[in-house]
């Protein structure tokens, strides 16, 4: 049976978190390499948000909590 991976972890732009800090958090929490972390950080900065993970609900909540612990504005969305 296919796993339910229909939950999106979305990080939103905010005026306070430093770009370098966001890159650091993406690398640490999500295991992104430097280039991927920078790409998502820039997407957050320029587009206002970035979907950083697509997971089943449990894992999506786990990542969402970790990102929030680090002070990033993060929400969960059910995939359309």
């Amino acid at each position: 049976m296919a796993l339910d991976r229909g939950w999106l972890v979305v990080v939103w732009n905010d005026p306070v978190n430093l770009m370098s800090y966001v890159v650091h958090v993406f690398r640490l929490v999500l295991g992104f390499d430097e280039a991927k972390a920078r790409r998502h950080m820039l997407e957050v900065h320029q587009e206002g948000k970035s979907c950083v993970a697509r997971e089943n609900r449990e894992r999506a909540e786990f990542f969402c909590q970790l990102l929030q612990q680090h002070g990033l504005k993060t929400t969960l969305q059910r995939e359309a």
């Binding site: 430093l18 800090y21 929030q68 612990q69 969960l76």
Partner: protein, 162 residues
């Protein structure tokens, strides 16, 4: 203020005014970490306890989510106390604060939490971040901007060597 790489993490070198300033900030953070979420200003609660995410949860899940985030912050209060004690008892000038690699991420979160707190309370947005803090007439707001920028420099230094 300077940060240098060390064998197990890094060392933060602070002169007396910077040490005093950081001590004051850590004291305030400790006070805020000790507060229940409902005691915090609503805007801070939104940022620290993610009102947007928890809005869709039922009462029990929302409570668990917020408690978990609060426990996490409480966990970092110990680190704050340890560093605060070291800063307050320092006699050497400049003072070297050793930050173990295992503690670095927690310290970054603590620093960042205070930036988020001040920004939320004083409604600091993109435009305000560009303001010359020294020209701001309101004392509380000026202090908040100064702390936000001071801690940004500290964050950048630590991220560079961490």
């Amino acid at each position: 203020m300077q940060a240098i790489q060390a064998d197990d993490g890094c060392t933060l070198i602070l002169f007396q005014p910077e040490r005093a300033f950081l001590s004051g900030i850590l004291q305030v953070i400790l006070h805020h970490y000790g507060q229940a979420s409902e005691e915090l200003p609503p805007r801070v609660r939104e940022v620290w306890y993610s009102a947007e995410t928890t809005a869709s949860l039922d009462e029990e899940d929302r409570h668990c989510w917020m408690e978990s985030l609060r426990d996490f912050r409480q966990g970092n209060a110990g680190l704050c106390r340890r560093y605060l004690k070291m800063l307050q008892e320092a006699v050497q000038e400049p003072f070297s604060l050793p930050i173990a690699r295992a503690d670095l991420d927690s310290f970054l979160i603590v620093i960042n939490d205070h930036r988020l707190y001040q920004a939320a309370v004083y409604e600091v947005g993109e435009a305000e971040m560009e303001e010359d803090w020294s020209q701001i007439p309101d004392t509380g707001r000026r202090q908040a901007l100064l702390e936000i920028h001071f801690l940004a420099v500290l964050l950048e230094l630590l991220l560079r060597v961490g």
